[in-house]
Each structure stands twice: as C-alpha cells, then as structure tokens.
C-alpha cells in the first residue's frame, strides 16, 4: 500500500519496565522482516524508573523508533495516543514486558495480505511464560489449529475467546477502534473489531511471549472483585444488550470464560457488597447466564464438572430426571450427568462425623425434593437453597450435610430419596 509509510506500526506502552524493555526491543530487532519496515511507537506512560532513558537510546539510534512521554494515564490512553500516530498498514501491540518470536511479524503480515478484505483482525499464538518456562497451551488452540479465517457465527468457534493483545489489526486511521479507559480494555477492543465482520484470521506462525513473571503487571494486581466486578458486568451487559436477539455464541464464550476463571481463582463474587446490593449483583449475573446457550457452559474445555453444574443451575434449564435405576441431570434434551448411587464423604471430628453428599446433582434440587434416611428413618440435614439463601455462593457449600455420632456410623445404612425415588449412598 503506497499511502502507508511503514508496513507495520508496533505500539508499546512503557510503564516501569526497566528490567524488560531491552528484551522487548531486542525481539523486534531480531524479526525476520527488515527493521526499517516497522514503526516502533514507545509510549512512556509516566514511568518513574529508568525506562525512559533506556527507550531514548533506541529512539536516538533508529529513525523508525519514536519515543513519546506523557503523564501516567494507563495503557489504554497510551495506546490511543500511539494509534493517532501510527503510519503502518498494520498495527501490532506489544506490552513492554513481553516479546515476540522472530518470524511473527513477517508471517502475520503476509497472511493478513492474503485475507485483507475478509477480516479486520488476525491473531497469532500467545504462550504464557512463568520464569521463562511455558505454561499449558490455551484451549483456544484446540479450535485454532491451522492458518485460516474462522467464522465467529459458527458455534464450533465459540471458544476462540480473543481477549489478549496478540493481535494484528488494519490501520483504518481516523476510523480505528479506540481503547476504553476501563479495565478489560483488551477484551472490549477485540470484541468491537471482531463484531463488524464476525470473522477472525489466525496465523499459525509466530508467537507472542507473554511474560507472567512480572508481578507489577496489571493483570496480577487489579483483578480483585472490588476493583473489577462493576466494570466487567457493565461491559458484558452492554455487549449482550447490543444484540437484540440471540447473542452470538462467540460472545457468550467470552463472557462465560471470564466468569469461569474468576470463580476458579476466587475472584468472581463481589463479596464486598451486602444486602440488596448483593442480591442485585447476583440477579445481574443470572440474567447474563440466562442469555447463554447451555452448550457454552457444557462444552467449555476447561470448566470443572462441579463448576459446570453450578453455572448451569444458575442459568436454568436443567432437570433432574430420576428413574429407579439412576439419577440423571438433563439439559436441553441431553444428559449431562448420570449416577447410579451417591457417595458420602465423611470427616471425623472427635465424637461426631460430618457427612457431605458432594454430588453436583444437588445444585439442581431444592431441599423439599430431598429426604435423607438413616436405617429407614428420615434425619435432619442442612442444605442451602440459594433461592432463599443467596448469601452462600461457594459451590462447595451447596451440598447436603449432616452430622452423626461417630460410634453409630458403622451400623448405619444411609439412603436418599430424590423426588420420592430412593437411592443408595455408599
């Protein structure tokens, strides 16, 4: 394209990364593409360490490296600042503590050229490194298997969840999508670009080396619910509301994935809220879940069985079908759980034993549907119903529990009646 001065612009927000910036710049100098085809935009976002001096060395040495220093406003503003100055046909984003493998920019650009009219965004592999060791590969690469264009309207692509900046986008100059100043800015940015064409390109060559050793990184510090709950809920509600009918499976996947990992890391529930505010927050969560397909939850590649049932229970649409032979949980005409008997986990505490019926089938039941019997006689048990008792949100707490004297345990036979049908407890 003759009217662009460079082939690519690489946007690098710089904030207190003196340890990493050299590595980052080095990875760009090592690219297989000629260095002067790239415009490097270093935006010093008010660093208080020696980052600025380190960057200046590069800016003075190379004509295509530009350093801008501004007051600290966060990565989003820094990126927007750079977008206004980008003169490359394509735009890459690189965080100053991360690097890219040498063939990345050349391969991604040449693939992008071949699908220029079809997509607005091309993604490439991102691998997380802790202390220079790669961690497990993200599940999205079970979908993104080879270079090509992926249709985001196709439900089988629902778990691509492009939420990081391992992307290359077209430079549309004044029409560029800008970053919001809120958190989750990467996610929102990618969603906004992708929904235009509902297609994403994937280039199999190249890799974004995502350094998770840097504890100052935004991701590791600010994702606690007090900071993020309101922002992310608002973001997801706006996203869902922008689709008057069914929300495309891809965007359901984005939101569910966020819910999923936050619950796993105990960062999901806004426990700082109380009373009506807490109830309202839970209603908001449930209303987002109710707009997701069951498949988004059931098929997610990295949700545990326990959590899957927890989320499905909140979403609704599951039915416990108990035949005399087995207990099944069915959702949209498919069984997602099938049990012949139930297991009792026991914890001995001196004279008494705490027993828990830890099966996700109970997420889908209410206390009135369940009777627990010891030697044929009904016994008292506690079983939290989240409809009446919404304060409890830890999935582990939502199982029926009861206490028996340890000395009678050996001659006790327990059974449970679910909707009047009786099952053995082992």
């Amino acid at each position: 394209m003759a009217d662009f001065k460079y082939l690519v612009s690489v946007v690098i927000p710089v904030y207190n990364v003196e340890k990493y910036i050299d590595l980052c710049m080095q990875s760009l100098l090592n690219q297989t593409i000629e260095f002067d085809k790239m415009q490097i935009l270093l935006i010093n976002d008010g660093s208080t360490d020696s980052s600025e001096e380190l960057c200046r060395v590069y800016a003075e040495k190379y004509d295509n490296v530009f350093l801008y220093t501004k007051v600290n406003e966060g990565a989003s503003q820094a990126r927007n600042f750079a977008l206004d100055r980008a003169e490359g046909k394509y735009i890459f984003y690189l965080d100053s503590d991360d690097t890219v493998k040498p063939e990345t920019i050349e391969s991604v650009c040449s693939f992008f050229d071949s699908v220029y009219d079809e997509v607005d965004l091309v993604t490439y592999r991102i691998v997380q490194y802790y202390n220079e060791k790669p961690t497990i590969v993200h599940y999205r690469y079970m979908t993104l298997l080879k270079t090509g264009v992926y249709d985001l309207n196709d439900p089988k692509n629902r778990f691509i969840t492009q939420t990081h900046m391992n992307v290359c986008v077209k430079n549309l100059r004044e029409n560029n999508v800008k970053f919001d100043t809120i958190k989750h800015e990467d996610e929102k940015y990618c969603c906004e670009i992708l929904r235009r064409k509902m297609k994403i390109g994937f280039c199999d060559k190249g890799e974004y080396v995502y350094n998770r050793s840097n504890i100052n990184s935004v991701v590791s510090t600010q994702f606690s619910p007090e900071h993020i709950f309101e922002t992310s809920m608002k973001l997801y509600e706006d996203l869902f509301d922008s689709f008057p009918g069914k929300v495309p499976a891809y965007f359901q996947g984005i939101v569910f994935n966020d819910f999923r990992w936050k619950l796993m890391d105990n960062k999901f529930f806004p426990l700082h809220l109380q009373g009506d505010e807490w109830k309202k927050a839970n209603r908001r969560i449930d209303s987002l879940l109710s707009r997701m397909d069951a498949d988004t939850i059931v098929l997610h590649p990295s949700v545990s069985i326990e959590h899957m049932h927890y989320w499905l229970k909140r979403r609704g649409g599951c039915t416990v079908v108990n035949t005399p032979r087995e207990i099944m949980v069915c959702c949209e005409g498919k069984n997602i759980l099938s049990l012949r008997s139930l297991k009792l986990s026991k914890k001995v505490k001196e004279n008494v034993t705490e027993c828990v019926l830890a099966s996700p089938v109970f997420y889908h039941l209410k206390k009135r549907n369940v009777v627990i019997k010891r030697n044929g006689e009904p016994i008292d048990f506690s079983f939290i119903d989240t409809h009446t008792d919404p304060e409890h949100c830890d999935p582990k707490e939502l199982y029926p529990k009861f206490i028996v004297d340890t000395d009678v345990l050996s001659n006790s036979v327990f059974t449970v009646e679910i909707n009047s049908v009786s099952y053995k407890i082992n």
Partner: protein, 348 residues
C-alpha cells in the same frame, strides 16, 4: 371465575412411586395447577402432600372417564400427561408465555436405558409432531376445547393424538423448541379403539382442516398404523388415503414420508368401485354421494379412463343431478336419459 391456570389430565396411574415423582416435578412453581387422574380401579389412593390439588375421575369405561375429565377441567389451559413425565422446573410457565393465551407445544426428552435424547430435532414443525406418540407436550386452551365438539374417541395413544390434531383444526399453535419435559416410559402407538373412527376423522380433516392440521392427523395415523400392518389396517389406510385422493400435494407428501403407494390405494378400480356403489344406490333410491367430476375429467385426460368410462361417469353425474330435483317430468325424463348414457351396468 377460574383461578386454576392449568389442568393436567393423567389417563392412568400404575405406580405410586412414579405418581409421586410426577407430582413433585409438577407442583413446583407458583402456578395454580389441578390434576385430574382417571382411575377405573377405584384403588388409587392419593396420599401425598399434593392431594388437595388432585381429583380422581372414575368410570367403568376409560374413554368415558377421559371425556368426563375433559368436561370437568377448571383451568385456562389443559394438558394430557403421563405418569412417566418429569417437568423441568419452569416448563408450564414457559409454555403459557409462549402460547399467548392459545396453545403451545414444546420438545421433549426421551429417556431410554440411561440415555436421554430429544423426541424431535431442533427445528421440528407440524410435519413432525404427529410422527411420535408424544402427546404430553401440548398445552391447549380450554376455551377452544369447550366451544368446539372435541371429544376423545378412545383411550389409546392414537385417540389422544387425534384429539390434539382435531384441536388444531380450530386453533393455531406455537412451537417452543426447548426441551421442557422428560419421560422415561415405554412408548408405542396404541390404536385399538380409535381405528374405527379414522375415516370419519379423515372426512372432517379433508373438508375443514388447513394443511398443518391435516399433516398432523395423517402423520399420526401412518406412524401408528404402518408398523402393525394387517388386512384390517390396510383397508383403514386405504379409506383415509381415498378421502384425500384429490389433494395431490398431500398424497405426494405421504408417498415421500411413508413410502406408501398412494396411487395404488386410490386407483381406477377403487374409483370404479365407488362409481358402481353409487350406481347401485341409485337403483335403491338412496343416493348418498355424488361422483367428484374433477377426478373423472382428470382421469380421462391422463388416459386412465377410456371414452366409455367417461360417458358412464357423465351419465352417473347427470343421473344424480336429475335425481336430486323435485319430483316431476324433468326428473323422470332426465333420469331416463342419463340411465341410457350409463349403459348396462345400471338398471333403473
């Protein structure tokens, strides 16, 4: 004023355990539900926490009990159900919302050997709902049932399907493609009693029903009868197909969906047999049915009828027309003339 939202009719109860399970899945929400159980044994003892919502309808004859239950419903909506059914927690609420005050049908999950599958494919339509003996997924409006002459002709599965197909002659229905209930019963079409009434139904559908109701009816009949083919069933199917012999679109649909040679079932012989039947009735002065002129003309032009046969048909038709006139010279003369056209088969 009726405060009951939904009346559920249970044609029979065979196991207390299943009945209790059925009740615990039915009475969950905030709806006012009445449950009418048909029980002829007089042995059913409703002994659970829901007994106040349950009434028992008994009669020596099961069909009468079911029709009595239909007459006794107090709800705005009614639904036939089965003790093997388990409702998902908000099934009835969702059906009521979807029905918009009329009727709605949802998908059902069928449990078989510990596996669950959907009764119908995701986008099922009126072509599909008759094909399976699944009647417990239709929520219908009691007003429509009361205002129209809807009765059950038997107590078998096909009778209930026919009732529902008949219902759809009077009301449109909304498809809710979600699976809202599950069943782990053994399903098969039973049709012992209702088979006697099929030609009457067929006549009513031909004369008054729209395509989707007709397709519902025809597919229920074929799905129920074809697997148990015998001489008796063959003649019933023939009678049903013959009723729709002018509806070429429907016949070709039957051909493609069920592989039935509809041409063979309403071939020239059977038209000729009808023709002779009418003719003999002319002789006995009990004319019941005119020939269908369109069919005769079409058969002539397609080469099925020769010129002689056409003449006979025109003769029979004219004879019928004259015969229906007031007594007098014109009737006498016309009948004489047309009998001549008819030829030797008919002796006036």
């Amino acid at each position: 004023m009726s405060s009951v939202n939904v009346s559920i009719i249970l044609p029979e109860v065979s196991s207390a355990e299943k009945f209790n399970r059925f009740c615990s899945s039915l009475f969950t929400g905030n709806l006012n539900i009445e449950l009418l159980v048909c029980d002829n044994s007089g042995e059913l003892n409703v002994n659970n926490e829901y007994s106040q919502f349950v009434s028992i309808v008994s009669s020596d004859n099961k069909t009468e009990a079911l029709n009595a239950a239909i007459n006794a419903v107090k709800g705005k909506f009614m639904m036939f159900s089965d003790e093997n059914v388990i409702f998902s927690p908000d099934a009835l609420e969702k059906l009521i919302v979807a029905s918009a005050g009329r009727s709605a049908v949802c998908n059902a999950g069928i449990i078989n050997n510990g596996e669950c599958s959907q009764a119908f494919t995701g986008n099922f339509s009126s072509e599909d709902i008759g094909t399976k003996p699944v009647y417990f997924n239709h929520l219908v409006s009691c007003d429509v049932v009361r205002k129209n002459p809807l009765v059950l002709c038997g107590s078998d599965t096909l009778a209930i399907m026919l009732f529902l197909a008949d219902y759809y002659r009077y009301d449109s229905f909304t498809f809710l493609r979600e699976v809202l209930l599950y069943s782990d019963g053994d399903y098969g079409f039973s049709s012992d009693e209702s088979i006697l009434y099929l030609s009457q139904y067929a006549n009513a559908f031909r004369l008054t029903a729209d395509t989707s109701a007709t397709v519902f009816f025809v597919s229920a009949v074929f799905s129920a009868l074809l697997p148990a083919m015998n001489e008796n069933i063959f003649s019933v199917i023939k009678a049903v197909v013959n009723e729709f012999r002018d509806d070429t679109l429907l016949l070709s649909w039957i051909r493609s969906a069920y592989g039935v040679d509809t041409d063979m079932l309403c071939d020239e012989n059977s038209v000729y047999a009808d023709f002779k039947f009418i003719g003999s009735h002319i002789y006995y002065r009990e004319v019941t049915l005119p020939m269908v002129p369109d069919a005769v003309v079409r058969n002539f032009y397609s080469g099925k009828y020769g010129i002689d046969m056409l003449k006979k048909c025109i003769g029979a038709w004219l004879h019928y027309k004259f015969y229906c006139r007031k007594d007098g010279f014109l009737k006498k003369f016309g009948c004489k003339l047309s009998r001549k056209l008819l030829g030797g088969d008919f002796v006036g």
